[in-house]
């Protein structure tokens, strides 16, 4: 959150689109792809964190702050959210600042009654800029009006954080989870691919190995896991895992699936044998590619 807040501020004061792009790319290099995609969605306003009334945040602040000092500070600062952000008493030994992904997760899983307590913990862990930006996001104010111009030149150079292409063709880096020898054609190999959901893998697609049959089969034979009848699990540890790129024509929410999402016409496009398991996408990455209104399918 702190890094995102810093990005928002720097984007607001940088003038040149190329400089802005460098700031975004720098941000992405620090936080990783899924986090920067959430950031981009927030900046493009295709995602909103709006969940709370400012009065609720004010209530939390009132329970912790001297009312006279608050009033004097508010008179000076002139903005309730900023006053709270600046006055919020630091708690030493609190956790690191929450990531945007953690906040998004909290917002979609916590009930109305649980949210204030979590918000307090978030505010404890953020710095003043982070608190300000978080309060503004939660109460429905966009971070800054001028921060995110989408001029033509900027869109052209703006490829470092790919804009989400909703319901459009795309690709995802996934991990080989299971292999199964096909029944109709004995030479075929059916593979199940998954992405990270927290620390576990969740299957997202099942398809024929196609032209990659030999390479996948070699890897699966060298690193077998448990067997379930015709299905063999494939080892997936931080060092030993097979990362592959799966293309799809579109994505759609699929409440019946464990992953909550389905890939239309998935196709194995290439093997990425040098990549570690951690480079594979997360389920959140995929969910964020859905249009905002479909996102809470899971």
């Amino acid at each position: 959150m702190n890094r995102f807040a810093e990005l928002v501020d720097r984007l607001a004061t940088a003038s040149d689109p190329e400089f802005k792009q460098r700031l975004r790319a720098d941000y992405a290099s620090h936080v990783g792809e899924s986090e920067s995609r959430i950031a981009q969605d927030l900046l493009n306003r295709t995602l909103t964190f709006r969940r709370l009334k400012l009065s609720l945040v004010r209530g939390l602040a009132d329970s912790r702050l001297d009312p006279v000092l608050f009033a004097l500070a508010l008179k000076y600062v002139g903005d309730v959210a900023e006053t709270i952000a600046l006055l919020w008493p630091a708690r030493h030994g609190t956790n690191r600042a929450p990531s945007l992904a953690e906040i998004l997760d909290g917002l979609s899983t916590l009930g109305r009654s649980e949210l204030p307590k979590r918000l307090e913990a978030w505010l404890d862990a953020c710095d003043a800029k982070g608190r300000w930006t978080l309060i503004k996001l939660l109460t429905g104010f966009i971070p800054s009006d001028e921060a995110f111009p989408t001029s033509k030149s900027e869109q052209q150079t703006g490829a470092l954080i790919p804009a989400p292409e909703h319901s459009q063709p795309g690709s995802v880096e996934a991990l080989l989870m299971y292999v199964e020898h096909g029944r109709s054609r004995s030479s075929d190999l059916i593979c199940t691919f998954g992405v990270w959901d927290k620390e576990k893998l969740t299957p997202i697609a099942k398809m024929s190995a196609g032209v990659w049959r030999e390479q996948i089969s070699t890897f699966a034979n060298a690193h077998p896991g448990k067997r379930f009848g015709p299905v063999t699990e494939v080892t997936c540890t931080p060092d030993i895992a097979l990362v592959l790129e799966v293309e799809y024509e579109s994505l759609q929410p699929s409440p019946r699936r464990k992953s909550g999402i389905s890939l239309n016409r998935p196709k194995l496009s290439r093997l990425l044998p040098d990549r570690p398991a951690s480079s594979a996408a997360t389920l959140l990455d995929l969910l964020l590619r859905l249009p905002a209104h479909q996102r809470r399918a899971k």
Binding site: E6, R10, T13, A14, S15, D16, F19, R22, L23, D26, D66, V68, L69, L72, A73, Y76, V77, G78, D79, E82, T83, L86, L87, A90, D127, A128, W132
Partner: protein
């Protein structure tokens, strides 16, 4: 003698009748004791001036050798008798040479803090809390909204930006006495050893720091430099000198370093592209912590945002009153 009677507030400023002198007078007086070299505290034209050696040097650079008819150098912790008063200067941690003034009269003790901070500063000795009956504090940042982050974190932001924009010069607006040198010293501590460009007014004051054994590394004059030379370099100069960069091929990253940059309005008005929260004054926590450490019978507040501090003192059982001295508080002000 009661401590509250040691000083009285007059038109010229705080006056000590027992020693017949003023502290940081705002008008010309026969005898002045000066806390530090900032122009709102150190004015020219007094008959006799008592101050630390760096403060006297700053006054001479600012006002010329005839800034006072006579001058007396005070070392920290050296007790000096003026009339019936005993005066001792103690480090204030604000800028090089900055001092608190301890005045003792018949066993009663009063301390004038001058401007001060508690955060670490590689360019001057740290503030020393002095127990006393009356503590006269500044309150430039006397609102709880002011909480300065560690200077090294702010300097890291500057260096990070330099890495991200290696073709652009980074020009930082910093008050020429104190802030500029602290920023340079912090950059050196962070491992930055490239030359730093400074404007002529700042350079003169840097020389005083060097003369008092504060090492600032390789500095170069800013004036007369082609913008192309400054690309990828750090320059320290007041905003009035930022126009020197107007012709640069790459727009400079402008930055203003001040405690005021904590609030968004001030940062947007004068912070430049990269506002940095670096202050030579105590923030809210430093002020309140200092009052608790000094533990005075009575707290007086010279200038700044005093209402919150007075409320805080009341809640903590400390008698407090504002002096509202006009004419102080010109330093650390962001550009309009």
């Amino acid at each position: 003698m009661r401590a509250v009677d040691i000083l009285t507030l007059t038109k010229s400023g705080l006056y000590c009748a027992a020693g017949d002198f003023y502290v940081d007078p705002i008008r010309k007086v026969p005898r002045a004791v000066i806390t530090h070299g900032h122009s709102d505290h150190a004015r020219a034209g007094h008959d006799a001036v008592l101050a630390t050696a760096p403060t006297l040097d700053v006054m001479e650079v600012r006002y010329g050798p005839k800034f006072a008819a006579s001058r007396q150098t005070a070392c920290f912790d050296e007790a000096i008798t003026l009339g019936e008063a005993r005066v001792t200067l103690k480090p204030a941690g604000h800028v090089l040479g900055s001092a608190q003034i301890l005045i003792e009269v018949q066993g009663a003790r009063l301390v004038v803090s001058g401007d001060y901070k508690r955060a670490r500063d590689p360019t001057c000795p740290a503030f020393e809390p002095v127990p006393c009956d009356v503590f006269i504090t500044e309150a430039t940042f006397g609102l709880p909204v002011f909480q300065h982050p560690p200077a090294k974190d702010e300097v890291a932001k500057l260096l990070h930006s330099l890495g991200l924009f290696p073709e652009r010069s980074h020009v930082v607006g910093a008050y020429s006495l104190g802030k500029a040198q602290r920023l340079i010293a912090e950059l050196r501590e962070a491992g930055y050893d490239d030359e730093i460009f400074v404007d002529a007014a700042t350079a003169k004051l840097c020389n005083i720091y060097e003369a008092h054994a504060v090492r600032l590394g390789h500095l170069s004059p800013l004036e007369g430099k082609l913008p192309s030379v400054l690309g990828g370099k750090i320059a320290i100069a007041p905003p009035s000198a930022w126009r020197l960069f107007a012709d640069a091929k790459y727009e400079p990253v402008t930055s203003f370093a001040s405690g005021w940059m904590r609030t968004r309005k001030r940062a947007q008005q004068g912070g430049g592209e990269l506002p940095l929260i670096i202050s030579d004054h105590a923030d809210w926590h430093e002020l309140t912590r200092t009052v608790l450490e000094v533990s005075p019978g009575e707290l007086w507040i010279t200038h700044g945002e005093e209402a919150a501090l007075i409320h805080w003192a009341k809640v903590n059982g400390i008698a407090a009153r504002p002096l509202a001295i006009k004419g102080y508080g010109h330093d650390d002000v962001p550009p309009k």
